[in-house]
């Protein structure tokens, strides 16, 4: 995650009339938001994100949701260690 990009939030100030409550190009914004969270965004996408993310409520909410789902997948989905017998079988087969 690019540390220079701060997590946006919907604050009281954010609900002022200047904030967009509908995003007319949300599908494109979603691709940018996902690329940002995946740390795969191009410079142009990063610029677009920085310039627009604090002006659009649907995009801020989507950013927070996508970030939360990504974190849940990493932190909550259980990872099992590979069973020892598989490890031993592999080693014995390549040594034979």
């Amino acid at each position: 995650m690019n540390e220079s990009i701060k997590t946006p939030s919907v604050t009281d100030e954010a609900h002022t009339p200047q904030m967009k409550t509908k995003c007319e190009h949300h599908a494109e914004c979603m691709k940018v938001i996902q690329a940002i969270l995946d740390d795969q965004a191009t410079e142009a996408e990063k610029d677009h994100f920085r310039e627009n993310i604090d002006k659009c409520i649907p995009c801020i909410e989507s950013y927070n949701l996508e970030k939360c789902i990504k974190a849940s997948l990493v932190e909550k989905v259980q990872k099992k260690p590979c069973p020892k017998n598989i490890l031993n079988t592999i080693i014995s087969k390549i040594n034979s």
């Binding site: 691709k31 996902q34 949701l65 789902i69 990872k79």
Partner: protein, 199 residues
């Protein structure tokens, strides 16, 4: 002649040492990730065991085609994914709930256009979900969509690495990931609703 034979023997021994060295140093550290990937693809412990074993034995057999200094984890994941498609997918015990082509067609169609597609789900409803619910939502996705989420979000591969692992262009990686995440959100929303969380 004897010298030549000795040199050949020494060379073979060095080659063998190198193969074992690469195998232990570059391949073995990824075995837990490989096992989890295999399990999430096959949804079956026995098949996951066989798939990991087959992948590592293939990796050892074809170790000469691995270029040192390149990403060993991505190389191994590609072998595992190909083995899964060729040897396991047909006999997978997972019921074919949704055909992948059908899903992709649906999500490419006008009526399910990306421009209007949003899922009504809040971040704090996701935070309430426990690990099993998140894992079940992931497991309920068709395998190709499940795969891109595992590779990107759980294993942290770049889009470029995913393109190589899956043999698809980067643009397809991005659009498949986008659709996979929309489907995952739908599954998470239904879990959140079932559990009585306000989605």
């Amino acid at each position: 002649m004897i010298v030549a034979m000795s040199e050949t023997l020494a060379k073979n021994e060095n080659t063998d040492d190198l193969r074992y060295d690469i195998f232990n140093r570059e391949f073995m550290p990824h075995i837990d990730s490989m096992y989890n990937f295999a399990f999430r693809l096959t949804m079956d412990e026995d098949d996951a065991n066989d798939l990991v074993q087959d992948t590592y034995l293939k990796a050892f057999r074809f170790i000469k085609s691995f270029e040192q200094g390149t990403n060993a984890k991505a190389w191994l994941f590609r072998i595992l994914k190909n083995s899964f498609i060729n040897d396991y997918r047909k006999k997978s015990k997972e019921p074919s709930k949704v055909d992948y082509q059908e899903v992709e067609t649906t999500y490419n169609s006008e009526e399910a256009s990306d421009t209007t597609y949003t899922v009504d789900l809040r971040a704090d409803a996701v935070q309430e979900l426990i690990g099993d619910e998140v894992a079940n939502a992931l497991n309920a996705l068709p395998v190709d969509f499940r795969t891109v989420i595992i590779l990107c979000d759980i294993e942290g591969f770049t889009y470029e690495e995913m393109a190589k692992i899956l043999d698809i262009p980067i643009g397809t990686v991005r659009s498949r990931l986008h659709r996979a995440r929309n489907l995952l959100k739908e599954k998470l929303r239904s879990y959140a609703n079932t559990m009585g969380y306000d989605s």
